[in-house]
Structure formats: structure tokens, C-alpha cells
Amino acid sequence: MTGTENMLASQADAEIMIEMSGVKKYFPLRGGFFGPTLKVRAVDGVSLTVNRGGIVGLVGESGSGKTTLARMILKLVKPTEGVIKIDGVDITKATAEQETKMRSEIAVVFQDPASNLNPRQTVESSISRPMIIHGVKKSDARAQAHDVMSMIKMDEHYLRSYPHQLSGGQLQRIAIARALVLKPKVIILDEPTSALDISVQAQVLNMLLDLQESMNLTYMIITHDLNVIRYFSDTVAVMYLGKLVEYGHTEEVTGNPRHPYTQGLMGASPILDPSLRGRTKKLLPGEPGSLINLPKGCRFFPRCDKADGRCEKREPDDVTVGPNHTVNCFLYDGRKAGD
């Protein structure tokens, strides 16, 4: 894992907020009554660091493990192996006291505006609930709920509404408000704008950026929309079948993708400019395989146009190809940093 070490070294000056090393999550799957217990290798050895105040984008097809990774940070699922540190605290070994504190430091906004809030609670109680859990007095929590409404630029009278009376954009802004009330350090954004219209998406993205700048928040955003990633995030982590295949600055990864999978992903992503239609783009053949019967070598090998003998036999290592840019591919093995 030389690549990861180099990457860590180059970031040593900045303060690290999220640090993952060798994180794995296997889900057991029983193969019939007498069959062997199979494993779904949803996340299979991911190492990643995110600095305080950074925005990291997680991209990949469905089944790439990006949502499982986020759910492990939220402690909704337990990693099978590996270490996840948030602001220096290993969340897998946290004491009860640390865990309570950690729960207030990591917040989440999910994709579906309709199910993000409890349909039977008013907006006000949805927003003040996290504060009440963490010991804020009810009256103070209510007062803060009023303050936070101005941060998301919504009128206070919406506090008395129920979720089904609001539009998707409004619901998503309230979900963000709720994520903010405990003054978290990290917010996980799981497809926060996928269900929204373009004009509303722009509102929500801008609001998230403003909040991030003013509160020095760290974001991890999961989305399938590479245009959103390009606009929104500082660094990008590309995942394929549970592995991190490429990681680096957004301009680097989207502008000069190295891994054949990233190249295919960028080629497939529609570009919002009809004059670029004639560009040579790479179309990935086939679909990602199963997470149960993974190929012995590189996972991407069956769809890769540049595969050779090595790819079939063993898994490639992370290779550093530029400042803070790593690729998990044999192609760059020979020529290391600064090619």
C-alpha cells in the first residue's frame, strides 16, 4: 500500500478529518439450506483520508459499495475489518461516551426527500429532536430550530408544517437544517439532489457550499451525477465493486482520468454541451459483475480494454501518478509519481 502512504505523507500538513484504512464489509449470504455460506463483498479494503473542510465525492455504479462505505462511517453497519477514524477517534472501538459524542459530530442527508423526515412529526419536532437526544432543553431546542430556518432561507411558519405539505426542495432543505443543528464536523450527503429538479438542485448545492464555507464542514457526497461532482467536490474517489480504483483532485480525476474504469465512467457521463458530441468517448461494455464471485485478479478485468496477463492473475496495487492522485491499476506500475 505504498500509494496510500505517499498520499498520507503529502497531506500530513493538513488536519485529517476522516481516515479509513483497509475497511472491509462482507455481508453473509446463505446459499440454500445445506449450501456454503457465501459472502457479498460490498466493500473490500478501502483506504481513504479526507481533510477538515474538504469535500470528497464518491462515485461508482450501483453495487460499487459507496453507500455501504458511508453507512459504516455513520455506524449504521459495522465494518468486518479495518479502522475508521473520525477526527482521530476510532469509531469501531469508541466507548459509549465517545459514541454519543460521535453521533453528534456526523450527520447525514439521504436522497429521498419524502422519507428523509418522519411523516408523523412536524418540521419543528424533526429539527429539534437531535438536540433533545443530546440533552438540549426542549425550549432551547425550539429556539434553535427557529434560528436554523433562517440558515436554510425558509420562513419560520414552515416549522408547523408536516412533511407531506412541502415540496421536495423544501424537504431536502429541512433535512439539511436538521443535519446542521448539532454543529457536526462531518456531513454525509447520499445523493442529496438526485430527486430534485435542476433549478432546485442548484439552490440546494449552493446552500450546501455556503454552509460548508461558513462552518468549515467536511462533506462526503455520494452521487451518480458526475456534473454535480465536478461542480461540488474537491476530491473524487471512484469505486468499482467494493474497491477504490482512483482517488485524486476533482480536476485531475475528471479531466485526466487514469484508470480505465474512470475513463469509461467519464466517457459515459453526458456532457452538457452539444458541441462536444463528436468527442471520442469510451463506452464500457457489459455491466459490473457479481460481488459474490469476484474475479481472482483485478475486478475490472472482464470489462477492461487494456487488460493483459497480469490483470487476470493478481490484484493491482495502488500507484501514485501525481500529487495526491492514486490509481489502482497495473498500467501505471512501471512509471511512478510525476510521469
Binding site: L76, V108, N116, L117, P119, H164
Partner: protein, 282 residues
Amino acid sequence: MNETPFMEFLVSARKNANFLVGAFIILSVVFVAIFAPVLAPYGYDTANKADRLQPPSAKYPFGTDDFGRDMLSKVIYGARITLQIALIGTFIQMFLGVTVGMVSGYFGGFIDKFLMYIADLAWCVPGIILALAVVTLLGKGLNNSIIAISLVNWTQFARIVRAKTMAIKNQAFIETGIAFGEKTPAIMLRYIFPNIVPALIVMISMQLPSTVISTTALSFLGLGSQPPSPDWGLALSNGMKYVSRGQWLSIFPGIAMVYTVFGFNLLGEGIRDLIDPHVKSY
């Protein structure tokens, strides 16, 4: 704009004929039950040996039974028993069903398998036979027959609550709550339970009439209320003995029974129409 769900319910309830008629019928039964001592001309167990098996007349509008008790008074007091059966029986079923269903649906795994196994067992024994067994074990009587019927019927609550719980527990707001540090009991009571309530209300309104009918059936078989209780089921069974001589003995309790069950059914239908679109949109 900022109407509570309950207000929204009332607004649409005003236009629902089933709900209105059903509510009127049930309210009238409740009224009769509450004011039974005022409304009934005689006590339900006041026997007047001289006036045995009298047909309906000005003195006894519904006639009298074989002990000379006024049938009108019996029917009026019987409303109390019927409502008692409906409320207590349905509450026991709901309590058992919600507890088992939520625990089963939320935790899943072995607990779920075990609890659903019990529910399956209770379900596959024919209801009336299980009820007979329970009554034999606990002894005859109204309360025991309510318990018996509840032990048979709770599984329907459990199944629906379990299915609802499983659907709700995967929604984003549950996970968000857990991520905020919400404890398991709070997740179940504050997040899941309120979202089951609409389905529960529909279920209750459908279980009320069947609980009344099953429990009355036990009384009819002589296993429930014992004489001189004004229970309609008991009165019906007693009337069977005099089918050729005194039809009024079974007709009036029968009509009261049909009226009440019909009311519960209409009310249930109305509530289901009113709540279901909401249930779907959540």
C-alpha cells in the same frame, strides 16, 4: 396550509357517507349504553313471574322472556355488554398484536421466526376450537370468552404491524434517527409506532365487528355470559327455545346485534376510505 393530519381527516370525513352513518349508529349505541338505567323501563333482571312470555305490548314494547323479564330493558342493557366486548377484546388483540408485530418486524432474525411461529400456531387452530379450549381451561364467563377470542384474533394485528414495521424501518428517517444517536426504544415508539397508527385504526375498525360476533357466538353456545346477563348472544340462544311460541325473544336482540355490527362495518369502511390514501402517500 398548516393543518394537522387530524384536521385534514375531519375535513374529508364530512363528505364520507359511510363514515357519517356508521358514526351515527355507533354513537347511538354508545348513548343507549351510557344512559341504560335512565332509558330502560325495568331492571334487566327484574323477573315478573305473572308476565311470562308476554308478546310485545304497551307495557312491554319488546315483550318478556320465560322468566317474565322485560326484553326492551334487556336489549338496552345488552348494549353495554356488546360495547365492552368490542372495546376490551379489540384492545387486548391490538396490544398483543402490536407488541409482537413490532418486535418481530424490527429485530427480525431468530426473534421474528420464533414469534411468527407462535402466530402461525394460533392461526392454524380453528378459532372456535381454540376458544373452546381456553374457556374450558379458564371457566365459563364473559371475560374469559373475550380473552379466548383475543388469543385467536391477535395474529392478524401482528402480521400487519410486522409488515408495516419492516417497511418503515428501512426508510431514511429511521436511519437518520439512528445516526443521530436515537436509542432503540425511542426508534420504535417515536418513529415507527406513529407511522403504524393509520393502519392500526383501519385494522381496529375492521376487527371490532368480528370480535363482537365471535364473542357473541360463544355466549350463544353457553360458554360466555351466564344468566341473568342481558348479553344479546345469550338472549338469542335463550330465544331459540321458544322459536315457535315467542319469536320476539330472538328478534329484538337479533336486530340490535345486526344494527351494531352494521354500524361498526360502515364506520370501518368509512375510516378505511379516509385513511388509506394517506397510508399510501407516507
